[in-house]
Amino acid sequence: MEIILKNVGYHYKNKKYLEKINLKIRSNVITGITGDNKTLLVELIDALTMASYGEIKVGGLQINRENLMNVRKTVCMIQQKPMDQFFTTNVKEEMEFLIGRLDYKNKNIHKKMRDSLLIVGLNESYLEKEIYQLSSGEQKLIQVAISLLYNPKVIIFDEPFVELDYTNKKKMIRLIRMLKDRYHKTVIITSNDSDLLYMLTDDLVILKGNRILAADQTEKIYQDIDFLNHNHVEVPHLALFTDKARKKNVKLSYHKDIRDLIKDVYKHV
């Protein structure tokens, strides 16, 4: 579902956090958002914070206070600190609470609960678990499972990789890719990890100060190293290495996997 921001801004107590944001987020791709006030920008899309001026549209749906319930069904946000988002202490109770709240009618609700847990890679036993006893990686997976119950078109991950160790990070990456490829979701990720953004996202938005510095396909942005260095934006290691080699007249190509890079280096030494 395409998201369009037209001349959007956010002011608070005379401070301009976001100014004149014009942005188009493509449907069914993974878009990364990095830089200053990135969480604020996604909060505007999810209507957790209301924009001071401008117009935001998700598909045909206008984001405003009157539409709040429809917005919640269309856009789902997985917050950075998962514990902030739960109302109850038990996974099953939490799911039932949400179903009741969204007035959701489905006879096979238990099957649906099990299925959504399976999609995120957790088994049925998690239904009976207490949320606060789970690790933060698992809590994030539970959040995704809960959101899948009402099938939102847009899923936003706010800093999904912080606090995750290697194994959980890999799991989360696999899940995000699957949401896009198999379930055709529009996925938005905020992160400051340029290596991960380079590997995972199709499109990228870089915010600087209260404006957009760059918004384009991820490869195009991350391969313009001089522009990024000039603006003090972190450059992914893989792209930086290729750039340094190219400046020595070695014709390396840009790669997203270290193994491909090494094969390429091997050819050119």
């Binding site: 606090e163 160790d165 290697y166 194994t167 959980n168 990070k169 290596d195 290691h237 893989l238 930086l240 290495f241 340094k244 080699a245 020595k248 070695v250 270290i258 193994r259 890079l261 090494i262 280096v265 091997y266 050119h268 030494v269």
Partner: protein
């Protein structure tokens, strides 16, 4: 070589959570030992047990005395300790006063205190920092200062708990050089815990901790080559180490190169 530290069958639990079930190891005098592990692996608990902030029940022998928390004042000259968090670690608003305080506590005459502080400040290259206010320092400078203070009383063993976590690359290299010089000259023993695998390269011996157990130990280069095991315990190889090891496998370079410019220069002269 003398033993600086001996741990015999260390058992420790927090209420409701067991951390160590019989950990044993020895650290020799004048060496640089590192402990790596993810969150929850028991690194900080181990450091607290070694310096006597938590009671190790006579299973830890440092120098010639048992370490336990009743006898902490006997051990306080023996150890220097720095933790990763810099907030709430300072008592005064001024750098000089902060550095003088631990020496005043040791009943050292005023003129000697001044000499000692100037000596250390020269060694660390922070002479111009002495009359600054603590609040004006960056986090990286605060971590540097804490390490300098911990060495003021010439401890036999320096314990660093993830103490480079917020330090910039340049300062980190500077401090490592200073520590290496002290290890050589004064037979200082350094114990560092970290999650960043780049930091173990300079050490003599490395332990990999997972859930309070040592899962692997040995020379750092030997450990870095066990990528799969490191991934299993939730640790990720940093880009430059990953690249170095894979290029070394193809005989393109020798050893680990952590500086990208140097790597490019080595490959293409």
């Amino acid at each position: 070589m003398e033993k600086a530290l001996e741990i015999n069958n260390l058992q420790f639990s927090y209420p409701g959570k067991e951390v160590f079930r019989g950990l044993s190891l020895t650290v020799e005098e004048g060496t640089f030992t590192t402990f790596i592990g993810n969150n929850q692996s028991g690194k900080t608990t181990l450091i607290k047990l070694i310096c006597g902030l938590l009671d190790g029940q006579k299973s830890i022998v440092a120098g010639y005395a048992y370490v336990n928390n009743q006898r902490i004042h006997d051990n306080s000259r023996f150890f220097g300790v720095v933790f990763s968090d810099v907030d709430g670690k300072f008592l005064f608003d001024n750098v000089y006063k902060e550095m003088a305080f631990p020496l005043e506590n040791l009943n050292i005459p005023v003129d000697q205190i001044e000499n000692k502080i100037i000596e250390i400040a020269k060694e660390f290259g922070i002479t111009e920092m002495l009359d600054k206010k603590i609040e004006d320092l960056t986090t990286s400078e605060k971590q540097e200062l804490l390490i300098a203070i911990s060495l003021l009383h010439d401890p036999k063993v320096l314990l660093l708990d993830n103490a480079f976590s917020m330090m910039n690359q340049k300062s980190k290299e500077k401090i490592l050089e200073i520590l290496k010089a002290r290890i050589k000259k004064d037979h200082l023993t350094v114990i560092l815990t970290t999650m960043n695998l780049e930091e173990i390269l300079d050490s003599d011996y490395t332990y990999v901790l997972n859930n309070g157990n040592i899962v692997m130990e040995g020379a750092p280069l030997k450990i870095l080559k066990e990528e799969r095991l490191l991934n299993q315990v939730g640790l990720e190889l940093p880009f430059m180490i990953d690249l170095s090891l894979k290029l070394e496998f193809y005989d393109l370079i020798t050893g680990v190169i952590t500086d990208m410019d140097r790597m490019v220069d080595t490959l293409w002269k």
